[in-house]
Amino acid sequence: MPLAKLTSITGRGVTVPGNDIDTDRIIPARFLKSITFDGLGEGLFFDARKATAAAGQVHPLDDARFRGARILLSGANFGCGSSREHAPQAIQKFGFKAVVAESYAEIFFGNATTIGLPCVSAARADIARIEAAIAAHPEMEITVDLAAQVIRFAVQTVKLTMRDSARDALVHGRWDSIGELLEGREAVIATASQLPYLAVPQK
């Protein structure tokens, strides 16, 4: 089955503010106790949401104004910490189709790209402008245009950046690399034959 070409994503936005938001916060480890990825959406930011509610406040993800948001906004070094793919899986299963943040931790970024969850970067001031527009008009639609490398909202347009290899993979529908990796089988065998430690041990 060919993969979708993710050239542009449109939807309403919501911000989970802060820098260095780690994957334990995105999906606490106890939600990893499963042999599938099912139901992970419910665990998204679980403890943060509960703590916010306990403090008598409303977490953005529980705020009725932002219900149904498809684009998640956040700060710098988003997704740092553990390599758990459960983190982007939880974001995707919650209903998000793209993330806009200042920057990402490496493993999270790769994991998200591989499951077709575009993680684009934008300048802090630009993210702040989008956030201000969302706060004023939560029903406003935002378009993350990977092909044109811009984010459009209201009547504004700001620049987005993304590593070329990831953007290329998403817009051309080859973000899941398994097919291409399998095609390289002959070349893999040739490379492996040059590395003594890969030889099948003699019984």
Binding site: D24, S103, L198
Partner: protein, 475 residues
């Protein structure tokens, strides 16, 4: 023909690069694939759905670590979810002919302990595992990558993954470390200095006099936390220390193959005058015993420093980060970190649960006792470490001091087993992450430090300078 001098990363990368992919990334051959129960079951399901098999079962090794109860490892586990996970791993390994170090093997442990112990982790190789602390294996001069589950699937099915080349930052730690300063302090200091995202896009190559003298276990402690500094990969060039550690291990080459392997491994080391994208030099003598006070591993201070005060910084980001951390940690700005009362002391994890960690602490713990009211647990990282500690009487020293001595696993580092903080307990921990809720309670609090500092906190009941508690001259 003379080629220009190359660093280890480039040599290992070039030896394992299969071809370029359409998006510009490299199809990289992964020589050694380590798997465990948390991030592999979904990958095996994906393989089944795609009708694929495991490409190189003889280069795939499994163990069980995250969910294993450490009070008693006997099955069935009381947690049915955990029980399903170990059963799935066992079944997947049997079905695909994968070597599995099960609970009954005597060789089970945290996956990052098992690879080196068995001699599976070798210089000049590429290693991947669905766990971010895979960087540990870089201590042997390997490119060791933490990966997600879809990539676990990729490696199972093709023994390769798609990756872009990393830049290399050389980090020199020169001179000598002060007394009572350990490898853990070195990496906490590096992360504090370069930041939790300072390593994004980089492989960290650690070197200098301090690393030359370090044992393999100390090198592993540093490489382990590379990811906490944002670097996906951390490594030390292989040398005589590396070869001596590997000699005679179950999966190490033997006989004539050993000499050939050593010659080959030597050839992977970075050459004098090679290119680095960045170089950072730190003086070992300037590294203090370090302890974290906040909610990420970069929020660390010397044991003699005060907890940061948000009003003393002009940078709005830093101010917000300090305020958020202090509110969660329930600590007071400007107060000394020393003397902060603790509830739990945890000595374990893939960062610091090796024989040398327990040996060093036992040296000072003899005749001391855990402070009343402190729950102290010591969890060897592997069954082999547990056995060696028992043979040397180290477990007895810990037990007599009032520590709970446990069986091997990840335990309270991330609390996927029954070992958890309760409520807002404050834990002095030898582990690697102090994120909110990391140790199993959504309000639990973690202070990262070296094993000896954990022991000092355990016996005094509060964060303490191990040099003072155990009479180690400060120079």
């Amino acid at each position: 023909m003379r080629t220009s001098p190359r660093n280890l990363f480039d040599k290992v990368w070039d030896a394992h690069a299969v071809r370029q992919l359409a998006n510009g990334q490299t199809q990289l051959l992964i020589g050694t694939h380590l798997i465990h129960e948390v991030t592999s079951p979904q990958a095996f399901s994906m393989l089944r759905d795609l009708g694929l098999s495991v490409a190189m079962p003889h280069r795939t090794f499994a163990t069980v670590d995250h969910i294993v109860p450490t009070d008693r490892q006997t099955e069935p586990f009381s947690d049915p979810l955990a029980d399903a996970m170990i059963k799935a791993l066992r079944k997947n390994c049997a079905e695909h002919g994968i070597t599995y170090f099960d609970l009954a093997s005597g060789r089970q442990g945290i996956v990052h302990m098992v690879g080196p112990e068995q001699g599976i982790t070798q210089p000049g190789t590429t290693i991947a595992c669905g766990d971010s602390h895979t960087s540990t294996h870089g201590a042997f001069g390997a490119i060791a990558l933490g990966i997600g589950t879809s990539q676990v699937r990729d490696v199972l099915a093709t023994q390769t993954m798609a990756l872009g080349r990393l830049k290399v930052r050389r980090i020199n730690v020169e001179g000598r470390l002060g007394p009572g300063v350990y490898a853990k302090d070195v990496i906490l200091h590096i992360i504090r200095t370069l930041g939790v995202n300072g390593g994004t896009g980089f492989a960290y190559e650690y070197g200098g006099a301090v690393f030359d003298r370090f044992s393999m276990e100390e090198r592993m402690t540093v490489c382990n936390m590379s990811i906490e500094g944002g670097a996906r990969v951390g490594y030390v060039n292989p040398d005589e220390t590396t070869f001596a550690y590997l000699k005679g291990r179950p999966y190490s080459p033997a006989g004539a193959a050993w000499d050939e392997a050593v010659a080959r491994w030597r050839g992977f080391a970075s050459e004098a005058g090679c290119h680095y994208d960045d170089v950072v030099t730190i003086q070992g003598a300037e590294i203090p015993p370090t302890v974290t006070w906040g909610i990420n591993p970069g929020q660390g201070i010397s044991i003699t420093e005060a907890i940061p005060d948000p009003t003393r910084t002009a940078a709005p980001d830093e101010k917000a980060a300090i305020e958020e951390a202090l509110a969660y940690m329930k600590l007071t700005a400007g107060a000394p970190i020393k003397g902060t009362k603790i509830d739990v002391a945890f000595l374990g994890s893939c960062t610091n649960a090796r024989l040398s960690d327990f040996k060093e602490v036992a040296k000072y713990l003899k005749g001391r006792h855990v402070s009343p009211g402190v729950k102290a647990i010591a969890v060897p990282g592997s069954q082999i470490v547990g056995k060696l500690c028992a043979e040397l009487g180290i477990d007895r020293v810990f037990r007599e001091a009032g520590f709970d001595w446990r069986e091997a696993g990840c335990s309270m580092c991330l609390a996927m087993n029954p070992d958890k903080l309760v409520g807002d307990q404050l834990c002095a921990s030898s582990s690697n992450r102090n994120f909110k809720g990391r140790q199993g309670s959504p309000t639990g609090r973690t202070l990262l430090m070296s094993p000896l500092m954990v022991a000092a906190a355990a016996v005094t009941g509060s964060v303490a300078d191990a040099r003072e508690v155990f009479g180690i001259a400060k120079n």
